[in-house]
Structures are given as C-alpha cells and as structure tokens.
Symmetry: C2
Subunit: 299 residues, 2 copies
Amino acid sequence: MSDVTSDWIAVDWGTSNMRAWAMSGSGVVLAEATSDKGMGELTRDGFEPELLKTIDDWLKCPTTIIACGMVGSRQGWVEAPYTTVPCPALPEGFARPVVKNRDLQVHVIPGIKQTDPADVMRGEETQIAGFLARNKNWDGVICLPGTHTKWVHVSADEVVSFQTFMTGELFAAISENTVLRHSIASKGWDEDAFTNAVEEAMARPERLAARLFSLRAEGLLDDLSANAARARLSGLLIGAELAAAKPCWLGQQIAVIGAGGLAKLYVDALAAQHAPATQVQANSITIAGLTAAYQRLKG
Amino acid sequence: MSDVTSDWIAVDWGTSNMRAWAMSGSGVVLAEATSDKGMGELTRDGFEPELLKTIDDWLKCPTTIIACGMVGSRQGWVEAPYTTVPCPALPEGFARPVVKNRDLQVHVIPGIKQTDPADVMRGEETQIAGFLARNKNWDGVICLPGTHTKWVHVSADEVVSFQTFMTGELFAAISENTVLRHSIASKGWDEDAFTNAVEEAMARPERLAARLFSLRAEGLLDDLSANAARARLSGLLIGAELAAAKPCWLGQQIAVIGAGGLAKLYVDALAAQHAPATQVQANSITIAGLTAAYQRLKG
C-alpha cells in the first residue's frame, strides 16, 4: 500500500488503452497509472483484474471509481446505454459493473446518441463536461479532432446535436492501405501544400473523390514530394470535413479540444476561413469531466 | 513443343498477374496461359524467365510478342514512357526489353499521361484501342470501373482527356481497415440501399465525409444490416464519383467496359441519372487492343 490517500479514482478506458488517476475530492490529481489493455483486448471478465492490477497501490475500501470511454460500450465491462440528445454531457445515471473481489463502487458514464441523423459518442461527452465545468454558460461548437472527429453543438449546458467524421481513420486507411502509400511520407509536412489543399477542398468539396489519385499522378509526373503529398492528403480530407461541417460552425463560437499537432491543424484551417477557434489542451479536460461526475455523485 | 502454331503472342501483364494468348495474325485466340507473377512480385530480371516458362509450349523463333500493362512501368520489365494526351490510344512507338536467351521480339505498349490535371493510365489504353477497333468513329466517354476507375473522353479516334477515381480501392480500404469493418458484410447486397445511397451522394456530394460514420451509427442504433451497409458504402462512393465526373459524362454517349457486377453497378447508377450507358464485356476487349497493335506493327 502506497502513501497515496485518494478520495476517489478517475478512469478513462478507451479502445486501445486505459489511464487512471488517484484523485482528491476537489479534483486534484495525486497519482497516475496507465495500462495498454484497452477495451479492444479485454473480454468482459478481464476488466476487473486489469483495473485492480493497475490501481492496486491506491486502493482502500470502499473506493469510488468513475470511468468513461469504451469501457461502457456493449463490448466493454458493462453497457452504459446512450443518453439521447438534447441532454447534459453528463446525464443523471451511471452504469455499474459487478465487482466481485473488492468493495469498489465503479460508476461508468454513459455515451450520447443522436437518432436523426444516427450518431454516437462515448468518451467525448466527458471531455465536453470538463470543458463546460471550466467555461460556465459557454454556447457554441466544440470540435474534438481524432480518429473519429466530433463536432458538437452545445447550448445552455446541453449537447444539442453532433456529427462524427472519420477523417483521422480515413487518412490512415488511405495513406497506408492504398496505392498512395508509395507516394506519401510516414512523417514530414509541407505547410503550403496543406493550406492549399484545405482551400481547394473547401471551394469544391464535391471533387474530393477526383483529387485523391492526383497525389499518385503528381508524384509520378511532377515529382510531388512525399512530404507535400502527406500534407495534401490531410488538407483534402480536413477541407472536405470543414466544408460538410460548415452549417454547424459558421458564425458560432468554436473551441477545438486536443493536444498538439492535429488540433492545431484544425485551428489553422478554420482561421483561414475567418473562423477563429480557441484551442484547449485535452489532457486535463477529461479529468475535469470525471471530477464533475464525481462531484455530482457526491451531491 | 505443342501443335499450336501461332503468328504472335499477346500479353496483358498487370500488377498482380499475367495473361498470355497464342494468336493468329487476324486476331483469333488459339491458346491461353496465365501466371500469378505480376509486376508487383518481379524484379526486372524476373520477367523474361517467367514469360518463357508461361508460353514455352507456343514458342518458335522468331516470335513477336505484344504486351500491355504494368510490365511497362518504371518498376516493370522495361519502362515504356507515357504518351501525352491528346493522342491515339495506341501510340506509334513501343518499348522493347532486352531479351537474352531466345529470339523474341517483345513490344511493350506505352501508357498515357495527362499533364493538367496530372493523371496516368497503363493497360486501359489497350482496352480503349480494342473498343475503338470494334467501334469505328465512336465519340463519347468510356468508363473503365476497377480498383482505379478511369473516365476517358474519346473523340476522332483519340484519347482527349481522362480522370482516375480511386473508388474501388477506397471501398476496400474503408470496408477492411476502418471501424466500419464491424458493420459491413464481406459479401451480400441490398439493391435499394445502393440506389438510395447513389442518389443521396449525387444530390449532396459535399457531404460524403459526413456520411461514412453513419454506417457505423445506424448499425448500432437502427440495426442497419451488414448487407445494406456494404451496398450503402458502395453507393456513397460511386455516387460521389459520378457527381465529380458529371461534367465529363453529361450529355455524352457512354460505354462502360467491364465484366459482371461492378460495371453493372455503374450502368444502373447512370441509368438512374437518365444517362443510358452501354456495357461492354472486358475479356475480349484487351485482346482486340493487342491485336490492333500487332496489325499496326505489321503494317
């Protein structure tokens, strides 16, 4: 037993890994632990032992644990059914997996669904709650770039509607699993190529399908560099996303939640469209959302 | 030595396999042979022995061989530099690899390139030549569906311009290498889902990026079947292609060259847009193009 005396434990358990924080009641992080056993690798019976192994040093009994992410999906530890928009980012109820071995009170935050058009999020709702906890009465659009980028319309402390774009995953699938892999660098960048591609895709988004092979042809015929091709593919896909999401962000206050490079690309691309956006670092936002859930639980 | 006495040998040597035909001077197929050693598997030195192994039974000396496809790419047996549009589908010159062991006259048909926008084809030019050999003075647009679908504007027996869409490869990359693989059947079909998706994508092509994740969400929330999801993804991508290619095909005579299912999808989708297209079976078209090249060579 370590000398960490936490009031509760915050957990973000996604598809590919898990992060846990020993927390004070007021939301201060006392210690951190991680596991590379994400939901994708675990069967239902595997969550409890993996959690115990990861946070064993902090455990006293009873312990309150708040978890978000894919841990609450149908393939997760316990299914936390989606709440339906419009709804608060943190809905009233939690799902609670059966814990056999220790006196752990595990609470899993539900994801949010939208019926028409059909869409789902799980994990992002907690980041949105964290953002709103820090920015009271904020109205506008929150963009959460990633494998599956979300655009979320928030008003009066509720999630009003949202839309998911597979832009990050499309970038990976196209640059790694098509003929373009011969033309695209695995790292490297070209700022101008990105900016021009965003502009091109936004001006004529319906031509996206026609533009992809040009990356290959320009590599063969015009010596387009592999760095420029990488930046150009990213710009075409993000530009197409911004064009399709325009009815959502146009004229709105915009916050982009994300660490480092990818979120910065969105902020820059939006700036070029005269849409200023605030970039918010993601690392502490999730913890702020889990803390808001804990504090609600404790009344 | 078999009893085949051919005048020449036709070869279609692509990325993933090679097909060869023993031919009469007038273009009749006397025998056929195949190899699974495509350009992708061979180094430059590997082409000659593979060809000899495949067609050994037919060889007499000297033998004239006409080949098309990726065998003429920079990574092929010999580079057959691209001809530039506007040009005949079969340009004047051939590339000729060095053959050391036998008196083989191998002639490789060059591909075609376009400078602005940059684009390339290699192999399709021979199918186009075959189509034009059978359809004298045909003006219009030829669509060649496949991994990389080509739309080719043909007039006065020349290739005027063309455009490549990575639709087939995008379908494979998205359905196999993204989260949609959980929602999409590996076979199976839903005709209505395809038709509706084509229509939807054509009406609002700029929203393609927004629609892909809905296949996942509708699977989770609305029990969208895996067959319908597969047909819908295909319809969205083909619809986006038809929308982007519309300036090319609108008001034109259209021929779709391709065997079976995929070409039929294009014909049906075009018909729904009141653009009737003729479907032409591909298998004999390549041989007709190689025969046209042989007859030109022999004057």
